[in-house]
Structure formats: C-alpha cells, structure tokens
C-alpha cells in the first residue's frame, strides 16, 4: 500500500506531497527532510529502494527533482518504480514538458491526477 507520494527538489523543498495515511503536520516536514536526505546521499550506481523505518522508499530522479514513494512491505517495488515513471509521462503529456517550475505551478491539477491514478 502506498503510504505517501512526494516530489522534492534537490534543495529539499517540497513541490508536491500526498499522504494516504494520516501524518501530523509537523511530522510531515521532518519526514520529508529525512527522506530527501537519504535519497540525496545515494550515488547513481546505488539501488533505488531504501529501507526507512518501517517502510520502503522507492525513488527516482529526474534532473533536479526527486520523486519518492513510500510503501509498506507488501508492494512490488519494481511495479512502483514503473508507476513513478508512468506518472511523469502523464505529466509530460499533460503539460507538454515537465519542468520543475512548471510542476510547481500546476500543483492543484497534479493532485487530481494522482487521485485518478
């Protein structure tokens, strides 16, 4: 089950976040900074799946933007990996070119997209 979906840039600023389970608002920022820290510290040759506390993080980097999905144990990691890519392709189609700045301004629409996926 997907626990959360984050789009964070390299400086640590959250561009998009969607939580599928209730997390306190002050814990959210903490969670996001920790998550982005562990993703940033990994090099290119390393595996895209990280174990973090009691769930797994699956992340994918697109230029300066990291898309991170947190799942619990029952998910197929590779399928989620594909899903992230699928999501980016959809955004690509919708906005004709995915750029970090663009995605920021269209946050609202993206939330809807996530819902339908």
């Amino acid at each position: 089950m997907i626990k959360f979906f984050l789009m964070v840039n390299k400086q640590g600023q959250t561009r998009l976040s969607k939580y599928y389970e209730h997390v306190d608002i002050n814990k959210r920022t903490l969670l996001e900074t920790e998550v982005i820290k562990s993703c940033l510290s990994r090099s290119n040759e390393q595996c895209s799946f990280i174990e973090y506390k009691d769930f797994k993080l699956i992340y994918r980097q697109y230029a300066a933007l990291f898309i991170v999905v947190g799942v619990n144990d029952t998910e197929n990691e590779m399928a989620i990996y594909e899903f992230i890519h699928n999501f980016v392709e959809v955004l690509d189609e919708y906005f004709s070119r995915v750029m970090e700045s663009r995605s920021v301004t269209q946050a609202g629409v993206q939330w809807h997209n996530l819902g339908s996926l």
Partner: protein, 845 residues
C-alpha cells in the same frame, strides 16, 4: 450629450470599481503566490510572506467573498503542503463543496482530502454534500465525491454512504465504476462488515473490457480476499477467468493505450498475479490451474526493460507462495539467479530479497547461486550488502563453512559500522553450529574480536568464555593468542574482558610456555601483570573490564609463584578506588589475603568444564556457575552480592536456629577436588569462619566426586536419569483438604541422589492460590528445590501442582524433612508446618 452621460457613467463606474478595489484588492492567484514564495531567499523571508498572505486570506474569508474563495483556498492548500498550519480553511472547504460551480467543488473536495480527516469534527458535515453529489448529473462531480470519500471517509460516513457507492458500482459508466470500485476498497478497509454488501456487484466485475475498471476490480477483489477467508473461498472459482484475462494480455498484440515499453498493461498483469497468489495459497486445485500461465509468463516476458522484470518478479513471488510443482520452482529460482547477475542494482536487490524468503524451503536450489550472492557482499550499495549478508548466513552449512567464513570475515573488516554487530553475531552463531574443529572455532572468534571487537554484543563474552573453558586442550593456545592480541591494543572491551579472564585462569600455562599448537612465547609473570595493570589503569577500560582485570590478577596469585607480593600491593591499592565495584572486590581480596589465606588456593582454583545452559535453565537455581558472569564467581560476603533468591533463604528465616541447617552446603576446606570451586560458588550465606570448623570431619563433608551435581538440574537433560525400580510413594501431608504426595526416584549414576516429585492436590471446593512449598533437611543432607509447575491448586482434585526436589544423602542417613506450606484459600492466608518422617527405606539407603 448621451455620449457624455455614458462616458461620465462609465467614469463613475470605473472610479467606483477602483475604489472598491482599493478597499479590498483582489486576492492574488496561486501562481503568483508560488512565484513570490520562490523568490524568498531565507526561511524567515518565506515565513513572512506566507504570514502576510494568510492574514489576507483570513480577512477575505471573514468577508464571505464567494468569487475568490476558491482561489484563496487553493493558496491555503499550497501553504499547507509547505508545512504551515491551515486549519482555518476547513469550513471554507465545506462551503466550496456546497457551491454549485464545478471549479469551486473541485478545490473544495481537494481541500477536504488534504485538510480534513477523521479527527476533525467538521468532516461529518460533508456527508450530506457528498450524498447529493453522488447522485449528481455530471459524472465528474460524482467522480470527485467518490474520490474524496475514498480518500478520507470515516467509518460513519462510509456506513451512511456505502449504499450509494454500491449503486454506482453497477452503473454503465465505466469512469464511475472505476472510481466506485476504489471507493469500495476504502469502505471495506474502514468497515469490514460491509463487505457482503458489495458481493453481488462483484459478479460481473471481471467481465470488463475497460482496463481501468478491470484494474480497480482486481484491487477490490484482492482486498476482499485478504480480509476474509470466506470471500477467499468464494472467489477461488474465479481463477480460470483470471488466467484467461492474463493470457489475453500476454498474447494480444500491441495496443497503444495500454502499452508500457512494449508490454501490454503491466500494472494490470502485476495485480492479477498478486490476486492469483492470494487465491492459490494453500490450495492445490487453484495452484494447478495457474501452473501453465505462470510458466508462460515466466518464459515469454521480455527482460530487457524494467517493466518486464517487474512482472517477472511478481511471477516469482507467486510461484513461491502457491503450491506449485517443483519444475516451476526451479524455474523461479533460476530467474532470480539471472536477476542476480544483472547489472541493474534494483533488480539485484529484489532478487536477494526474494531469495531470502525462499531459502528456507528451497535450500539446495539457492545454494547453487551462493558464489554470486557472496560477490554481492562486495557491492557498494548498502541495501544490497545487508540483504547479501542475511542471505549468506542463511546459506552457511557444514560443507561450505570454511570458505564462507573467510568471505564473511573479510566483509566484517570492511563493512559499515551499522552492520558489524549483526555480522558478528551471525558469525558466532554459524561458527557454533558448524565449526569443523575447536581450533578453527577459537581462531574465528579471535579474529572477530580483534576486528570488530567493540561491536560485539554483550552476551557474546560469557558464551565465548564458556566455549574456551570447554575446549580443554586449547587452553594454552588460546591464552597465548589472547595475550598477544591485547599486548598491542587493549581498547576493545569484549576482547579485553575475554583475554583478562583467560589470563587469570590459565596464566600458569602462559608463563610456562606450554603451547603445542604454535610457537610458545616467552612471557614472564611480571609482563603479564604489567599488561593487566595497564588495563586497570587505562581510561579506555570500562568498569566491567576493570573488574575482570582485578579478578584476573587475584586469580594469578595462586598460579604465579614469584609475584605474589606485587599482586597484594595492586589489590590493596584498589581498596580505596572510587569505583564502588572495584573497591568492593579489592577489599574482599585483601581480606582473602589477610584472614583467609589458607582458603585462597581452593577458592581461586581452575574453573571446571561448564555445561551448556539453555536460557531457561537458571530459573531453578540462581547459583549458576558463572555462565553469565565469570567475574563475580568468587565469594562475596553475606549481605552483598547476588543472593540466591530461592527457597533457601526463606527457610533460613523461618526455620531459625534449630538443628536443621541451611539448605546450601557449607564450604569444604582445603580439598583440592575439582568440584571444590563450584561448590563454593553456591555459597549464598556463608559464615566463613564458622564453616571450616563446623564441617571438620571429612565424613561430614559432602563428597561430591562427580562434577556439578546441582548442575544436573540446570542442564537440559532429563531430570530422571536411569530411573530405578519403583519405590513406594508416600503421602507426606494431608490436612484441610490439601494432600501432598511424594514419589521417589533414585539415580543410578549417583547413588546418593534421591529425586522426589511432590504432587499437591486440593479436594475442597475452592482453589488454593499462591501456593508455595518449602522444605528443609538435616545438616548432613543437601536439598535442591526446583520450580513448581504452577502456584494454583485447582479445586475438586481437578489438577495438581508438581514440584521436584533433589536430595543428596551421602551418608545414607535416614531421610527426614520439615515442610512449610503457604497458600490462600477461601479468601484467607493459610500456612502450616509439618514434619515428614515416613520416608520408605529404599529412598535413602
């Protein structure tokens, strides 16, 4: 003229509009807000901007401005996402939901999903809105409502609206059916009892053409099957249909709307495979029906892209979980092996994880890939290394232990600190199980201690010490190696502790240069004492280590010949140490030198071979033989130290000073018997001065010719070895409805030992609770009381409490026993004393 009037009207209108705008400027759009925030260079600047905007939004809300409400809420949501509090927008979201405009509704529902959840009371107000919207004419509005309900609906809301959702599940509109299925999943999660409501709707779900609906239906079915075994049984009949769908997906040609890198709708395939896994678990028929399709998927899927691998991964998981035939399992493991060789890290990680799951069941097949797995230990990636380490430990067996250990030790050297503790424990376990020789075992342990010494777990030290004690022939070799190890570096505490203990025990072997296994080194007594003293002084040594070192020095006083004075000096220095533990030890050892010098050699003798104690062992008698703490083996004066809390002391208290002595044996004197050492360990309440005098005649000193009599109880061997022929049992006590029977067994291995099993039964109509049985025997006997089976004697003789007593009767005197019983009965505490004299002669002769 008219034009002028019009112009003037326009102007007034313009001014009017301008004025109103001045009074209340239009709120900025979300886009502009984002842009402004991005220009902020510091956190403080950003906070300031957001606060300003929040204030503007709040005043706008207060003025009940309908036109810009949605814009404001959108901005509020963005700020919420950044982490700022936005709860004041909740009611506004509700207002937006209630509005008729689609844009308003959209933002309103979005806000509801983000800001509202079950914990807010406000969310219930939404229920009516959602209900109306579920029946709206526009499908998008219905879709929105379904989305929101599926996202944050509480159990009350779900209960109210489940009927609507179910209705929508049956509509002809596939967009709505898709959303309704997802919403149903959420409803079931929140309120499992409603599952049956959705059952009729699921009948046709798999007949869909639309992949979206199919996908969500499979999710719904999966959820239902996971939650309820009845549903699982019910849906098993769908297996053929699922297989057919999967087949179509694989066989069908290119379909542009579902294609992802050449594979047709992989997400659906993965979902179906997962559902098949759940359905096929523990069920032979379904598993058989799936075998073909699984084999087909496994062989036909393209592995060049990640997508294909994702499907293969899911297939492998399914094959492993259901009752597949062995050919299929081998196929699965081969796929995993292929994954391992792949360059892509993700795939390797996934392969290692799955292999870990399967290694229990298909051990041999996984062994084939052992070398690849061991190679993964050298990978750069932390996640992969961890998995490879766990898998390597699972694969170690008697045949490959040497090779594997070499790799694992190398890994221990180079891995990150977070792994070292786990790796060290794993190595110890593996070495213990499969060590080909004692020397190899000790070498391995030494290697671990020297490389990862500080990460070794605390319980490793006593285990090691026991291991070393037990390999008698290796003592000299071990102590020599340990000595060399700490000569260079004594910062790793576990290593130093083990070394100190060994040097204390086997120091004589060290200085006499008796080592056979390797070149003996020349060490003088002074050098040994030097190293121990430096451990004592060093800042790096913990208090525990210091304790070990001091005790070792003390022990050497009996093993070394020329340096006793030096030892005395060291010990007396620490008599005034700030560390209480050290001070206590030093004072006691000092006392040993001064007043009890004649006892010193007996007390500080070589430790005997220890039995391996299971962790349940020491509940019986707390006087273990130092398996847990080698250091405090030496005697401690009465009030301090770990008093054995067993019945012994209670009896001492209660039986006072009649001729029945304490249960614990008194100290033998200078008997150099090997068992002398551990008997002394059993002294909980010694009166050292009194004892040697009180037990003068050798006749009355218990002759323990065999090692640990009392340890028999601690070992996991059965209590009754070589049970002699039946000795009649007696009723030791029978009063007030409580009856206690003794049954006897004699041990053939030790004729002085009688094992008595007591059975307490209760013939009254109420249970007896907190039942405690205590016993005392005359001075010439030794008694050991093991723990009872329970503390409640059930009424009406429906059950008994069983307890075992072991009596040592070396002088073959007539057995007499005094017993004390305490229990609670009918609400009051009862206690009774009795004497048992009717022991049958066979029990003690």
């Amino acid at each position: 003229m008219e034009k002028n009037i019009n112009l003037r009207n326009c102007q007034t209108l313009n001014t009017y509009v301008m004025l109103t705008h001045l009074r209340m400027p239009a709120p900025i759009r979300l886009r502009e807000l984002i842009r402004t925030i991005r220009t902020a260079r510091t956190q403080a600047e950003e906070r300031e901007m957001i606060q300003k905007e929040c204030a503007a939004i709040r005043s706008s809300f207060r003025e009940e401005d309908n036109t810009y409400r949605c814009r404001n809420v959108a901005k509020l949501l963005y700020m919420h996402m950044l982490g700022y509090p936005a709860h004041f927008g909740q009611l506004e979201c509700l207002k937006l939901i209630a509005s008729q405009k689609f844009t308003d509704k959209r933002i309103g529902y979005l806000g509801a999903m983000l800001l509202l959840d079950e914990r807010q009371d406000v969310h219930l107000l939404m229920t009516n809105c959602i209900k109306n919207d579920l029946n709206h004419s526009t499908q998008f509005v219905q879709g929105l409502a379904l989305c929101t309900l599926g996202c944050m609906g509480s159990s009350e809301m779900c209960r109210d609206l489940a009927g609507e959702v179910e209705k929508l599940l049956k509509t002809s509109n596939s967009y709505l059916r898709k959303k309704a299925a997802l919403c149903a999943v959420h409803v079931i999660r929140k309120v499992p009892e409603l599952m049956e409501m959705f059952l009729p709707a699921t009948k046709n779900l798999l007949n869909e053409k639309n992949h979206g609906v199919l996908h969500t239906s499979v999710v719904l079915l999966t959820e239902m099957c996971e939650r309820s075994p009845d549903m699982l049984a019910h849906f098993r009949k769908l297996v053929p249909q699922l297989v057919r769908i999967l087949k179509n997906l694989i066989m069908s040609g290119y379909s542009p709307e579902h294609d992802v890198s050449g594979i047709s709708d992989p997400f659906l395939q993965v979902r179906i495979l997962r559902l098949l896994r759940i359905l096929g678990r523990n069920d032979d028929d379904s598993s058989e029906a799936m075998n073909d399709i699984l084999a087909q998927v496994a062989t036909n899927t393209e592995t060049s892209k990640n997508v294909g691998n994702a499907i293969l991964y899911e297939t492998v998981l399914t094959i492993m979980d259901i009752k597949s035939e062995s050919g299929l399992r081998v196929l699965a493991i081969n796929i995993l092996g292929r994954f391992l060789l792949n360059n892509d890290k993700n795939i390797r990680y996934v392969a290692l994880t799955s292999l870990l799951k399967t290694v229990q069941t298909d051990h041999n097949a996984v062994q084939r890939h052992r070398s690849t797995i061991v190679d993964c230990l050298k990978d750069l990636d932390v996640s992969i290394k961890r998995r490879a380490m766990e898998l390597s430990f699972a694969l170690v067996n008697g045949n490959n232990i040497r090779g594997m250990m070499k790799e694992l030790l190398y890994f221990l050297d180079s891995c990150e600190p977070e792994f070292k503790a786990d790796c060290a424990s794993g190595i110890f376990l593996a070495a213990e199980k499969y060590a080909p020789s004692k020397r190899w075992h000790i070498d391995t342990i030494m290697r671990v201690l020297t490389t990862a010494g500080s990460y070794v777990r605390d319980d490793a030290v006593p285990n090691l010490i026991q291991l070393i004690t037990n390999s008698v022939e290796m003592h000299a070799y071990t102590v020599q190696r340990l000595y060399k190890a700490i000569l260079g570096d004594y910062s790793q505490q576990p290593l130093v502790q083990v070394a100190a203990w060994c040097i204390g025990e086997y120091g004589d072997l060290l200085v006499s240069g008796q080592c056979e296994e390797e070149e003996p080194i020349q060490v003088t007594e002074d050098e040994v004492l030097d190293i121990l003293e430096s451990v004592l002084i060093s800042n790096m040594s913990t208090s525990v280590t210091r304790g070990y070192a001091l005790t070792a020095i003390m022990k050497l006083s009996t093993r070394f010949t020329c340096t006793v004075n030096r030892i005395k000096k060291v010990v007396s220095i620490y008599g005034s140490s700030i560390d209480v533990e050290l001070q206590q030890r030093a004072v006691e050892y000092n006392a040993l030198f001064k007043k009890y010098d004649h006892m010193r050699s007996a007390l500080l003798e070589r430790m005997p071979v220890m039995e391996k104690v299971t962790t349940n062992g020491p509940t019986e008698i707390v006087q273990t033989n130092g398996e847990t703490e080698p250091a405090p083996l030496e005697t401690k004066p009465p009030p301090s130290g770990p008093q054995p809390t067993s019945q012994a002391n209670d009896l001492l208290d209660l039986l006072g000073g009649n001729d029945i002595t304490p249960v614990i044996p008194t100290a033998p004197t200078s008997k150099p018997s090997s068992a002398g050492g551990e008997l002394l360990d059993l002294l909980g309440d010694i009166n050292l001065t009194g004892a040697p005098a009180a037990a003068p005649a050798p006749a009355s000193v218990p002759q323990i010719s065999q090692p640990p009599f009392l340890l028999d109880g601690l070992s996991s061997q059965p209590l009754f070895n070589d049970i002699a022929a039946g000795i009649p049992s007696i009723t030791a006590y029978s009063k007030n409805g409580l009856k206690i029977e003794f049954t006897f067994e004699r041990s053939n291995t030790n004729p002085s030992v009688t094992v008595i099993t007591i059975q307490a039964s209760n013939s009254t109509e109420l249970d007896m609770t907190d039942f405690v049985f205590q016993a005392a025997v005359p001075k010439t006997f030794q008694l050991q009381l093991l723990s009872p089976s329970s503390s409640i004697v059930p009424a009406f003789n429906t059950g008994t409490i069983t307890q075992v007593i072991k009596v040592l009767n070396p002088q073959k005197q007539q057995l007499r026993m005094r017993i004390k019983l305490t229990y609670n009965h009918k609400g009051s505490a009862m206690q009774d004393l009795a004497e048992v004299n009717n022991f049958p002669p066979q029990s003690w002769q």
